[in-house]
Amino acid sequence: MNNPFLQVESLNLTLGKFSLRNINMSCQKGEYHVLLGPTGSGKSSLMKCILGFHRINNGFLYLKGMDISNELPECRRMGYVPQNYALFPHINVEDNIRFGHQVKKKSFQDTDTIVNRLCEILKIQKLRKRAIQHLSGGEKQKVALARALAIQPDILLLDEPFSSIDEGAKRNLWIELKEIINEVGITALHITHNLEEAYTMGERLSVLMNGELLQSGSKREILESPKNEDVARFLNYKNIFQGITEKDPRGTRVNIGHFNVLISKKISTGKKIKLCIRQQDIKIIRKGVPIKDSLKHNVFSGKIISLLQLPEYCLMHFKVDGSPKQHDLELKFPRYILERHNLYQGKQINVAPWEPNIILFSNSISP
């Protein structure tokens, strides 16, 4: 693997009662990296450290292999798009884009060519003479992006760039922004608390919670193998159980109390273990239809407790027969399943988790 383009190494920062602790993270050249975390997790503080606005207590920051930990923000060559875009209201769109070229002691080959090309890529030629106050949220975002890219930075940092955009317009803009950044071919670090935004845009994700970087990896790695319960809960995964491993010739049986889950991985008996069955990985079993191998060892019989029909999918709460709980499993499936299986509240059905997708939290296995 190549040397990381941006590397955060053992970074620590204390801000009053809040602290970032031992942050290690890296971005490869040309990668679109999303830093994901709930509000107050320290994402913006970490970004401000990378930009040079917070002086780190200890640790290192490397950009293109150079130590930039003590560099001033104006020397770091980083393009920044803040949450509120911070477009200068006293100058028009074009002057905002040119702003980085007007600083003394800085020479750019051809400002006009750069500005024209950015306006073309971002499709904002018509806005060039417009006042900032007369721009929509999406237009402001594009101007802020053009201004950040105009200085030809080494890396682009985007702090919740969609937070002030209408919910309906966001999805198109995610795709549009990703396409623009791909076209420009710049390394980007984007922070957000929005899972869909992170899934759509990120090639690699890092999950930051409560000042600690819990996991960093490819999108697939994070989605399919969250490292621990906290990451899984943040990813909105339900059906997290703790159980004791028992011997089984087919793998390992995890005794959760009122039902067992069979996993193919061999784990020694008597271990405490935490596992997660994602809502979308539980299938409804049709009576009289042969059951697939990955499902047949974990078929649970029970009752539909509630059905929630949302515009894009359905959520079901399911109670395993004999369980003392109000409900045991949450299922998520497309709306057409509702009619195909004639599902209704109170109906007795069989469900089964897709065994290969059952997530075992490795750090939860007791020694």
Binding site: L72, P73, N84, F88, R147, A148
Partner: protein, 259 residues
């Protein structure tokens, strides 16, 4: 209940506004009647206006020059003893101007004050004293007003300019000052208006000498002293006209950029 509440609010507001209108109207009527008996000395009036405008302009410019860096510092940084220093800077706003003038008078009787007087020239009973007195009376206000202006500018603009290659000094001149422009101008006008109307500290430090340290408020005082009511009314009318003009201009400015 709502009607009673609304009535109380409207009635109180009306009463207050009418009392102001009544005060102004009675003054104008008196001025109209008095003008027929004794016309005021135009030379003296001109001198007072010129002196007031000159001293207020100089003291306000100095106050702004000092207040811009101080208020920017207080709006952007946290440091040990900030609250104590902040309170100290607010002192001229609440302190009686006469007390402030007396403090200045005492200072110029100390060895250091005398030394300063020797180098720069005397302040006591001089025009320079008027400027100094006005400066100390208005500087607290200008710091307070400018701090509100700077605090209204999101620091993210400054951060962003830094990422574009601007150092702190360049950020201040290229981003902060242009964005604070309207706030600075309206603060200057309010401070200038307060300096024009300043009396207590001025009279204590610079005295009340006709055609020497006779600003408009001092002229009002001297006119009443010599029972020349018409002359006093002329000065009061001029002062009101200046004050109202300033207030109208300040109100016409939009609030600086807030996000």
């Amino acid at each position: 209940m709502n009607r009673v509440f609304n009535f109380i609010m409207w009635a109180t507001a009306s009463l207050l506004i009418f009392s102001f209108i009544f005060l102004l109207a009675s003054m104008l009527v008196e001025l109209w009647k008095g003008w027929a008996f004794s016309s005021p000395k135009l030379g003296e009036i001109g001198f007072a206006i010129k002196l007031s405008l000159l001293t207020a302009t100089i003291s306000s410019i100095f106050a702004m020059l000092v207040s811009v860096p101080v208020s920017y510092l207080f709006s952007r940084h946290t440091f040990f003893g900030k609250n104590v220093l902040d309170t100290l800077l607010d002192l001229p706003i609440v302190l009686s101007p006469i007390a402030l003038g007396a403090m200045l008078l005492i200072f110029f009787n100390t060895p250091l004050g005398k030394q300063i007087g020797q180098y720069i020239g005397p302040f006591v009973f001089e025009v320079k004293g008027i400027i100094l007195a006005q400066f100390f009376v208005v500087v607290g206000l200008s710091v307070r007003l400018l701090r509100t202006t700077f605090e209204g500018i999101d620091t993210e603009y400054e951060n962003l300019a830094r990422t574009l290659g601007y150092n702190q000094l360049q950020v201040f001149f290229k981003v902060v000052l242009p964005m604070a422009g309207k706030g600075i101008l309206s603060s200057f006008l309010l401070v200038w208006g307060k300096a024009i109307g300043e009396f207590g500290a001025t009279v204590t430090l610079a005295g009340a000498t006709t055609m020497k340290t006779e600003t408009i408020p001092v002229a009002i005082y001297l006119s009443f002293e010599s029972a020349n009511v018409t002359s006093a009314l002329v000065y009061i009318t001029i002062l009101i006209a200046i004050s109202l003009s300033i207030l109208f201009i300040v109100r016409s400015f939009k609030v600086p950029y807030h996000e």
